[in-house]
Amino acid sequence: MNYSFAEIKKNLKKDFTGLKEIRIAVLSDSSSQLLCQSIKGYAFTQQLNVNIWEAEYNSIRHTIIDEDSGLYEFKPEFVIIFQSSKKLLNGFYSQPFPERATFADEHLQMINNLVDTINNRIACNIIYINFPEINDSVFGNYNNKTNLSFTYQLRKINFELMNLAQRKANFHICDLCALQSVHGSLNMFKPQLYINTDNVLDIDALPYLAKCITDMLLAFSGKFKKCLVLDLDNTLWGGIIGDDGIENIEIGELGIGKAFTEFQKWIKQLKERGIILAVSSKNDEKIAKEPFEKHPDMVLKLEDFAVFAANWENKADNIRYIQSVLNIGYDSMVFFDDNPFERELVKKFIPEITVPDLPEDPADYLPFLYSQNIFETISFTNEDVARTKLYREEADRTILKRSFVNEAEFLKSLEMTALVKQVDKFSLPRAAQLSQRSNQFNLRTVRYTEEQMRAISAANDKFALTISLKDKFGDYGMVGLTILEKMNNSDLFINTWIMSCRVLKRGVEDFMMEQLVNIARENGYTSLIGEYIPTPKNNMVKDHYKNLGFAAQESLFKLSIYDYVPKVTHIKKDSD
C-alpha cells in the first residue's frame, strides 16, 4: 500500500452510501483527529463506512470510568484504545527508580481494570494498540540487563498484553510495535510534529496504522481469506519445469532456490493454520506434479493441496473451477503469480479475488507479502488445522457420487452419522467461529463472539445446538449451528440457523429440522418461528422455511409442530 495521508483524506468526501457501517470509539492520550480521518478514509477503500466517536483528548480513564460519558451512549462495536509510547515514557520517568520494577505490572493491572469496566457496561470488542519501542539509551545495551530500564518494562508490557489478549476473549491487540519494526521509528515518528501538535505518528505513517486497524475490523465482519491459489513456475520454484526439467528448477541450494524454499515454508505455515491451498498452473499435469513427488528440496507436498489444476486452460477458468469445487466466495480467495499478464487477466475476469502484485525479485516476495497482511483472522481452532484434509475428503465424496445414479442410494452408501449437542465449553470457539464465517447458508447472519456464545449457552430461555457429521470417508466436524429463543409461551424463535456449505444436499437440513421440532416439543412450545434476512450472499436460503413447510406470516415464517412431517434422511443420530 502506498497511500499518503493526503490521498486517504480525499476519500472522506466520497460517497459512503451502501457501505457496511461499523461503529467505533477512539480513545487516545495523544492527538487523534488525523488518525480518525485516516481510519475513515482508508476503510472507505475496503468498502467500509466507519462511524467514529472520538473521545476528548487525553481522557482515556475518565471516558471509560464515567458511566455518563458519551462512549456508552454511542454504543460502539469496537473501542480502540491508543496509549502512546511517549506518554508511557514520561509516566515511567516520573516514577522513582525502585518503583520502576513494577511499572509494567501496574500498567497491565490498570488496563485490565479498564477492560472490566467497559465489559460491565456494554458488549463490544476492545482493540488495544500496543507500544512501539523507544530506545532512550539511558543504560545503552545495559537496558537489557536491568529491569529498571524503559526497554525492559515496555517489552514486558507488550508481552503481558499478549497474555491478557489470550485470557480475555473480547480484548485484542493491534500490533503497532510490529509495524514500527518494519518501517522504523525514523519513518514513523516525526519530532517536529510531536512537539508542535502532539501527534505521535508522522502523518504518512497514519495510513499504515489505519490499515492495521481496518484489517482487524474486516476480519471481525466476516471478511477473511480462506484459500490461496498458487502458480508454480517462478512462483514456487525458479525456472519453468516444462523447459528446465526437475534437476534445473531453482529450489534448495541451486541458484536463488533459497528464496523459493523459504517462500514455500511460509506457504506451508499458512496451510497449517487453516488456509486451503490450490494450484493453478499452465503445465502438463504429470510434469507439474513431478517436483512435489520427487524433488528432495520441495517443502510443499501434493497432499498440502486441496485442488491441483495444471492444464493449458486460461487461469481465470481454472480459478473458477477451483472455486466451484471448494464452494467458497471469490472474495475469500487469494492468487499468487509472478507473471503480471496472468495477474491482470485474473483480476479483470474475477475482480473479487485478491491478487497481490508480487515484486519482480523473488527475494522480495516474503517481505512484501508479510507487509500486505493478507491473512488476518480473529480465531484459530483445531478445525482450522484440519481444513485441507477436510476439503480433500470432500473431493473423494464427489468422485464417489459420480458412480451412483440414484441420489438416495448414494447418500445411504455414505453411512452418515450426526452428533447433536448443546454448545459447551469445548465446542464454543468453533460455534462462534461458524457464526462469524458463514455467509451463504445463514438465515439471519448474526455474528457472535465467544463471549456472546457463552452467554447464550448459559441462558435459560435459549437453546444453542451444534450438529457434527461423520461419514465413512471422514469427519466433517461441526456443520450446523442453531440458536432458539423463547418468543412467548407458545412460540420458539429460530435466532440462528447456519449450515456449512460442505454438507449441502446430504439431508442435514431435514435432520436439523427434526432436532428443532424435538426441542420445541420437549419444552412445551407449539410453534417454531423462522426469519430470513437477505444479504448479498445468502440468496440460496431464501426459500428454506417455505421448503420445510413453514407458512409465511408477514415478515416471518411459522410452523406448528403438529403440522410437521419428518422426512427420511440417511443420517443416523449418534449417541454421545
Binding site: 495521508f5 493526503a6 483524506k9 480525499k10 468526501k13 483527529q33 488525523l34 480521518q37 519530532p191 517536529q192 510534529l193 512537539i195 508542535n196 501538535t197 501527534n199 502523518i203 504518512d204
Partner: protein
C-alpha cells in the same frame, strides 16, 4: 517573476490541494482567520505538503512561529537559498 512570487504561487497550489478549494487565492498577509478550512489540523497537512514539494524541512520553532502565508514563504525562500 521574482523567486518569492514563484514561491507564493506554488504555495497557493498546495493550499488549493490540501484545503480542496480550486478557487482559493492566498496572499502574503493571509492567516488562518481569513481562510476557511485552514485550522490546526489542515495546518499540519499544509506544512507537510510544503516540505515535500520544496524538499525542505522546517524546524519545530519555525513551524511554531508562522503567523501568516508571507512568513511561510520567507522561511521557504530562506531554506532554498541555503
Amino acid at each position: 517573476m521574482t523567486t518569492s512570487e514563484q514561491i507564493l504561487a506554488e504555495v497557493n497550489e498546495i493550499f488549493k490541494d490540501v484545503l480542496e478549494n480550486e478557487d482559493l487565492v492566498i496572499l502574503r498577509p493571509s492567516t488562518a482567520e481569513d481562510i476557511d478550512e485552514w485550522d490546526s489540523l489542515t495546518h499540519i497537512q499544509l506544512v507537510v505538503g510544503i516540505e515535500k514539494h520544496f524538499k525542505i524541512r522546517f524546524t519545530s520553532s519555525e513551524i511554531n512561529k508562522f503567523k501568516n502565508v508571507g512568513e511561510m514563504c520567507d522561511a521557504i525562500l530562506n531554506k532554498l537559498e541555503k
